[in-house]
């Protein structure tokens, strides 16, 4: 899994039938201190994430297993990150070590 920030929603009227009712999110992968890293991608939301939230996402064939059916996905958001505890040493650039 990897960290990302939700930077938008994707609306698609004509799509695979299995995707009906699924929310498509635009993600920007980020490093542990929140710095953008790599190219944005579209992922299906499995946890009700919203714009500007830090999330973690899963890629590959496993991504579709978040929905327990035949949803054609190669990236899915599987968790909303509240923070990262590091037991002393900050994980990122901020002193608290939290990602948001």
């Amino acid at each position: 899994m990897m960290l990302a920030k939700v930077i938008g929603n994707v609306v698609a009227s004509a799509k695979n039938a299995e995707l009906l009712g699924q929310k498509l999110l635009l993600l920007q992968p980020v490093t542990r201190d929140g710095t953008p890293s790599g190219r944005p991608l579209v992922a299906i939301d499995a946890v009700g994430a919203g714009v500007h939230e830090t999330v973690y996402w899963c890629r590959g064939r496993e991504a579709s297993l978040a929905f327990g059916s035949n949803v054609p996905a190669d990236a899915s958001v599987v968790g909303i990150v509240d923070g990262i505890t590091t037991h002393g040493a900050p994980a990122g650039g901020r002193k608290t070590g939290r990602t948001r």
Binding site: M1, M2, L3, P29, T31, R32, S37, G38, A46, V47, G48, A49, Y56, C58, R59, G60, R61, E62, A63, S64, L65, A66, G68, S76, V78, G79, I80, V81, D82, G83, I84, T85, T86, H87, G88, A89, A91, G97
Partner: protein, 89 residues
């Protein structure tokens, strides 16, 4: 599998049910000499690793799910070992 260093523990209240009851750790992939390699990743913990530990991480779905004990779950990385030493020959 790759070597990594555990940097922290991710707190996530809202997550996929298959991730409940397992720690989600922030892991920095490292070279055999312990220097950093690429961006950090998140992996489920199957061996009770802690912050600062050098660990072995699988990066493929089937292995990750099996190690985490969760079948048919959206898991693509799991920590499957705590590395005591790497011997360079």
């Amino acid at each position: 599998m790759i070597l990594g260093r555990v940097l922290g523990e991710v707190v996530a209240t809202q997550k996929h049910p298959s991730h409940q009851g397992r720690k989600i750790l922030l892991v920095q992939p490292v070279h055999p000499d312990d220097s950093e390699r690429g961006d950090t990743v998140l992996a489920l913990d199957a061996v009770d690793a802690g912050v600062g530990d050098r660990v072995l991480v699988v990066q493929e779905g089937f292995a990750a799910m099996t190690a985490a004990g969760r079948v048919q779950a959206p898991i693509d990385m799991t920590i499957i070992g705590v590395v005591d030493a790497v011997e360079m020959l």
